[in-house]
């Protein structure tokens, strides 16, 4: 199950962070997302590793914590998407697919002329789309 998704701007400022758990663990998830930015930065700044996959937006598994797996995705505008999931065996293809749809939703949201770039995404439509994508992720991996 996806417990948290986040959009982080290129200055590592959170643009959108949404947890999908019932428990009051927003702080914990914020920490996990914030922490994973180090790994993103490292992968971005380390040209050796990203050499063959120069145009690859999917960053793969950032780091596994005790209970979570954190995946990352980096757009061309250096906006990061972070996915925190409790599923222990996740197929890469699923995650890629998720990020692709998530990216599309994000692009739609920031194309809104009333959206201020670099500010938090407050669009309700975006939130709905994201929660749909998140729900469908759970289904596809179960099936």
């Amino acid at each position: 199950m996806i417990v948290c998704v986040a959009v982080v701007g290129h200055q590592n400022n959170p643009l959108y962070i949404q947890s999908f758990t019932d428990a009051d663990d927003a702080l914990k998830l914020h920490h996990i997302v914030h922490c994973s930015l180090d790994v993103v930065d490292e992968r971005v700044n380390n040209p050796k590793k990203s050499g063959p996959t120069l145009n690859e937006t999917f960053l793969g598994l950032l780091y596994p914590t005790e209970n979570y797996k954190v995946y990352g995705y980096l757009t061309n505008t250096k906006v990061k998407f972070i996915l925190v999931t409790t599923d222990l065996d996740v197929r890469d293809a699923d995650v890629r697919n998720f990020f692709r749809r998530f990216h599309a939703a994000y692009v739609d949201a920031v194309s809104n002329p009333f959206h201020v770039p670099g500010k938090k995404i407050t669009s309700k439509t975006f939130a709905e789309t994201v929660s749909t994508i998140v729900k469908s992720f759970g289904l596809s991996s179960a099936g």
Binding site: Q11, N12, N13, P14, A26, L27, H30, H31, H34, C35, S36, L37, D38, D41, E42, N45
Partner: protein, 1134 residues
């Protein structure tokens, strides 16, 4: 990499892995030593370290120069290769201490270490952590808190004296007896034979036959050494040559002060630092040093060498070589079935495995790492096959360390340590201590190689269940993340937070605060607000717990305006904050309090200089409207708004020429929005402005003072209130109390009224939050430049300039009202209004002028019509007294009051105004009244009173005229009038139709009764009627009665019922004629000819309506339709 031995890990290993000497002594020996404040072991400890003269390590260098030759210890390897030990150290332990430390005791000790460190770090607790850029520099040079190293050492020691490792097993036994003891020889024998020996010797884990060294301690204060020497000879005859006499306390002339006291480092409690060893003089020290050197170089090292050689031969014979390997493999296989995990008793000291381990450890201690490594390797596979996991892990650990010290394969070293670490963990809680120790070594190794990231993850792995332990480990991990290149700041912050939380759990509040404060630098930017709030709030709470309420308040303040948090946490934050503030027992004054939020962008300053406003709302009208309106009013001499100031520059210092001007006794108003960012209601009270007023007499001086005072105040948390009290008599401040609901925005209007002349500066605003905290907001703290309402023209001036006023002497100020101006009416409505002007001051005003923005709507009447009865005054009089309309009224829209009009304090001026709702819509009417001040000494000669009214005009009657030529007569025209009632409820009674212009005469074609029997046009109804229009002039018919008076009256047709006696209204006199003129001007069309005609339709609202309408005055409507032309109809040929 540098010499591995010189790295921190190398030094640590040299310190920790050394031969152990077991000390057995009698109580009298201890007593003797106690005189110096030392135990026997402590007394000898400084002399257990031996350095090569050219070796590093300066601790002992001092003593070497005192009287020591080189103590380079010559050693031989197992294969008789001589080499030198750079540094050699003995570890002295009492026999009772040679056992595995009690976990609980060890834990207590660790806790004590941390608590102590917390107390010591108290001073830096209050200072803010350096910004993150400086952090690198701060920690780069291993400048981490020094107690980390100490703590780590303690942790390592808590795993010592395990039976699976030989380097903690004593290699020698030091038996000490005092010369005062009865029967010293027997005492020596008893000491070694008692059952108090450590279990290691008794349970067979190690060879009980160890080197014994006999020492007789003599206290020189007890007399001469005669008796002692006698005992020594006796000892020598009994135990052989391994006997020595140590004379101490030989200081004769009182206590000796030791500079650079050598014992301080070995004493855990540093309380009595300078008194240590006070009876030991130089001779004693030299004697101790000689004895220890002899013990190590002549006894222990040769003994170890010997043992290494013997063991090496044995091992080679049994285990080395292909044959032995095969043999052991077979043998192992057979043993497999019986092997179990109870490996403690499986290997006694005589077993081959133990011997190999001893050989390895001895070689390690004598720095022969090659030999050690080969033996460890040999034994490692055996232990693995035996599934003796603890021993296997121990050997792996030593292998890793050997690899490291040999600076050989890094990978191997790491692999071995990791292997050892995981194996220790695997065997459960009994291996925990060892795992920690192994992890620490691993970490140190990684740090030496600058692999900080890996080191951090190892730290993370060694934090166990125990919160305090893991807190320290996590904190160290965080610093590793910081030191790694590039620094991993996010992880640094995260681990600091984790660590702080664990510190808190184990009641180490000060440490918790320290870690959290360090973490602030990571999260300082507001973006990760959830985390930031968490940190600030917790720091605040912890400070409150420690009783540091001031710091607590300043931290909790940061989270107060947390609009992104949930309602409950907002509530908690606010409640906690108020609780802390309450505990401080005083009212806190906080600059830039975030609650509620002052919206600086909404700040508007409203003040009156020469421009005054009838109502506060008027001030919000754009200045440009007034400017255009007042253009003709204000004397050309002072077109520039501030020119009068230049004229009177002697009154006002030049520096303030650009300042705003306000008048003493008149309020300056500041409007701003105040917002509650939270979802919970907050109560705000005593909102008032902070102002400074410097009296003009000592203008410059006071101003300088107040500037200085202000600077000071900016830096302080609390603010002196003297300023307010000083100025109290000169200033009147308004105060507002209100409560803000969740998310509510309130417009606050505050005023300040200066009482004396001088310079007024509005500094900011202050308020009470929940009657506990006083908040300040300095308006100019926001450097953005803002326009105030008045400063639009000078928009480039900063806000603080706009908040600075020159207060001038009190002036008369007119107040004006227009009564009774409706707010909503119907188009065409004509009303009689009264303008009332009052002057409250003693000084009279004169030269009044008035200008109206919409003359179509508002006309100034004449003085006589003030008390006139409306609408009767408009009725046509039988005796005609026609007043020539004042044509100036149009050409010059400024109405100048008669010369002699003055307004004094007692008598208000009343002046009639005519209002007519010309067109439907929402209309803003602006009036400006210009007046001059009688008193010529005043710095302001004139002022203007600005009035503004909004009127909503609803559509009433729609009227259109169609003029067509009369088919029968050339000079006559047929006029069709269509009237539609466009209202939804109102009924109208058409009253009369007038044509304007002398040449026209209008008459009814048929009585209105026939068209409109009811006389009344109800809502939505329309009416058409026809008139005959005759052009008198062209027809050449002799002028009738009306035209004989040569008045361009036009003619009037009554539309009322036949025979009605209701009077007609005079459309040719003021005000209707004035309104008509304005309408004409307004409806003007491009090509104007003579052949146009204007009509005025006058209607009245129905009587019944009037009765139901409560306070409505009788209403009269006039509708003007100008420039009606003949419709160009195609002419029909008859």
């Amino acid at each position: 990499m540098a010499d591995p031995a010189k790295t921190p890990l190398g030094k640590m290993l040299l310190d920790e892995i050394n031969p152990v000497v077991m000390v057995l002594d009698t109580p009298l020996v201890e007593e003797t030593c106690r005189k110096n404040g030392l135990s026997f072991v402590e007394m000898l400890s400084p002399f257990c370290v031996f350095n090569n003269i050219d070796g590093e390590g300066f601790e002992m260098a001092k003593f070497e120069t005192v009287g020591f030759d080189s103590v380079a210890v010559p050693v031989r390897t197992a294969s008789d290769q001589p080499y030198r030990l750079q540094k050699f150290r003995l570890r002295l332990f009492y026999a009772s201490d040679i056992r595995q430390p009690n976990l609980e005791v060890a834990r207590e000790r660790l806790k004590q270490v941390i608590t102590q460190a917390g107390e010591n770090g108290d001073s830096e607790l209050c200072s803010d952590p350096p910004p993150i850029e400086n952090l690198d520099a701060r920690f780069e040079s291993e400048n981490l808190p020094s107690w980390f190293a100490f703590f780590n050492k303690e942790l390592v020691r808590s795993a010592s004296f395990s039976d699976h490792e030989a380097f903690d097993h004593p290699v020698a036994c030091l038996l000490v007896v005092s010369s005062k003891d009865e029967q010293p020889i027997n005492q020596f024998v008893d000491l070694f034979n008692t059952n108090k020996l450590p279990s290691l010797l008794n349970d067979g884990a190690m060879d009980p036959k160890i080197l014994n060294y006999y020492l007789l301690v003599h206290d020189n204060q007890d007399g001469t050494t005669d008796k002692a020497t006698k005992i020594l000879t006796e000892m020598r005859s009994t135990f052989g040559s391994d006997c020595q006499l140590l004379c101490i306390n030989s200081s004769e002339d009182g206590p000796v002060e030791h500079q650079d006291n050598p014992w301080v480092r070995y004493k855990s409690e540093t309380s009595s630092g300078q008194n240590l060893g006070s009876f030991l003089n130089v001779n004693d020290i030299n004697e101790m040093r000689d004895i220890m050197q002899e013990l190590s170089t002549k006894q222990i090292i040769p003994c170890m060498e010997q043992k290494i050689r013997v063991l090496n031969q044995q091992v080679s014979a049994t285990r080395k070589g292909f044959k032995n390997q095969i043999k052991s493999l077979w043998w192992r296989k057979g043993k497999d079935e019986i092997a179990d995990s109870s490996n403690g008793s499986m290997y006694t000291f005589s077993s081959v495995e133990s011997q190999i381990r001893v050989l390895g450890d001895y070689a390690f201690m004598l720095r022969d790492y090659e030999l050690a490594l080969s033996n460890y390797r040999l034994i490692s596979t055996d232990y693995k096959l035996d599934k003796a996991w603890k021993r296997y892990a121990g050997v792996q650990e030593m292998m890793g360390l050997s690899y490291f010290l040999l600076d050989q394969s890094r990978k191997e070293a790491e692999y071995c340590l990791e292997n050892a670490f995981t194996t220790y963990l695997k065997i459960g809680p009994s291996g925990q201590q060892n795992a920690t120790r192994c992890g620490l070594w691993w970490v140190e190794m990684l740090k030496t190689r600058y692999q900080f990231r890996e080191a951090a993850s190892v730290y993370f792995r060694i934090c166990g269940e125990e919160p305090l332990h893991s807190a320290v480990m996590l904190e160290q991990a965080s610093y590793c993340y910081l030191l790694s290149t590039p620094p991993m700041l996010h992880k640094y912050g995260f681990h600091l937070v984790l660590s702080g939380e664990r510190y808190k759990k184990s009641d180490q509040i000060k440490h918790a605060i320290r870690t959290y404060k360090n973490a602030i630098s990571v999260y300082k930017e507001a973006t990760w607000s959830h985390i930031k709030d968490h940190i600030y709030f917790n720091i605040g709470q912890w400070y409150a717990y420690l009783g540091r309420y001031d710091l607590a308040v300043s931290h909790v303040l940061e989270v107060l305006a947390c609009s992104h948090q949930s309602k409950t946490s907002q509530d908690i934050f606010l409640r906690q904050f108020l609780q802390i503030v309450q505990k401080t027992g005083r009212i806190f004054e906080v600059p830039k309090l975030q609650l509620p939020e002052i919206k600086i962008s909404s700040l508007r300053v409203i003040f009156e200089d020469h421009r005054t406003y009838a109502t506060p709302a008027v001030a919000s009208v754009k200045e440009s409207i007034w400017r255009s309106l007042e253009e003709d009013l204000i004397p050309s001499l002072s077109t520039g708004r501030t020119n009068w100031l230049e004229l009177h520059s002697k009154l006002v210092a030049k520096t303030y020429k650009e300042s705003n001007v306000c008048v003493a006794g008149e309020a300056v108003r500041v409007d701003f929005e105040i917002k509650n960012p939270l979802q919970i209601p907050i109560s705000v009270s005593s909102v008032s402005l902070i102002c400074e007023l410097a009296a003009s007499s000592d203008e410059t001086q006071t101003d300088a003072n107040s500037q200085a005072g202000k600077l000071q105040n900016d830096n302080e948390l609390t603010m002196t209130t003297s300023r307010e009290s000083d100025n109290n008599s000169f200033l009147t401040l308004s105060k507002v109390d209100f409560s803000l609901g969740g998310g509510e925005v309130v417009m606050v209007q505050l005023t300040v009224t200066p009482r004396i002349e001088g310079i007024l500066q509005i500094v900011g605003v202050r308020w009470n939050l929940s009657s506990a905290v006083v908040g300040f907001h300095n308006f100019e703290s926001n450097p953005r430049r803002k326009k105030s309402a008045k400063g639009r023209q000078r928009g480039n001036r900063s806000l603080s300039d706009n908040l600075k006023f020159v207060v001038i002497k009190s002036l008369p100020k007119l107040e004006g009202f227009i009564q009774p101006l409706p707010t909503s009416t119907y188009a065409g409505d004509v009303r009689h209004l009264v303008l009332e002007l009052r002057n409250q001051s003693e000084c009279t005003v004169k030269n009044l002028k008035l200008k109206v923005s919409h003359p179509r709507f508002l006309n100034v009447g004449s003085q006589e019509s003030l008390d006139a009865d409306f609408p009767a005054c408009l009725e046509k009089r039988t005796e005609h007294h026609y007043v020539q309309p004042d044509h100036n009224n149009i050409s010059q829209p400024v109405f100048i009051f008669p010369e002699d009009t003055i307004i004094t304090a007692e008598t208000p001026l009343l002046w009639p105004l005519w209002f007519r709702a010309a067109v439907p819509g929402n209309i803003s009417l602006y009036l400006t009244i210009y007046y001059e001040i009688e008193d010529s000494s005043s710095s302001m000669r004139y002022r203007t009173l600005r009035m503004h009214h909004n009127v909503q005009v609803l559509p009433s009657l729609g009227i259109s005229f169609q003029v067509s030529p009369c088919p029968s007569k050339l000079e006559e025209f047929l006029v069709q009038m269509d009237v539609v009632n466009r209202t939804s409820t109102k009924s109208f009674q058409v009253h009369q139709l007038a044509s304007v212009g002398e040449q026209w005469e209008i008459s009814l074609l048929e009585p209105v009764d026939t068209i409109l029997p009811s006389q009344c046009l109800v809502a939505g109804q329309s009416l058409s009627c026809f008139f005959m229009l005759k052009n008198q002039r062209k027809s050449g018919i002799s002028e009738n009665k009306t035209s004989s008076t040569s008045v361009p009256l036009g003619s009037v047709v009554r539309l009322g019922p036949e025979g009605s006696t209701e009077p007609l209204f005079d459309t040719s006199s003021s005000p209707l004629v004035d309104f008509h003129r304005n309408e004409r001007l307004h409806q003007e069309i491009s090509h104007q000819g003579d052949s146009t005609v204007d009509f005025i339709l006058i209607s009245r609202s129905l009587k019944s309506d009037l009765d139901s309408g409560t306070s409505d005055p009788p209403q009269l409507f006039s509708h003007h339709s100008c420039h009606c032309r003949q419709v160009p109809v195609p002419k029909l040929k008859i």
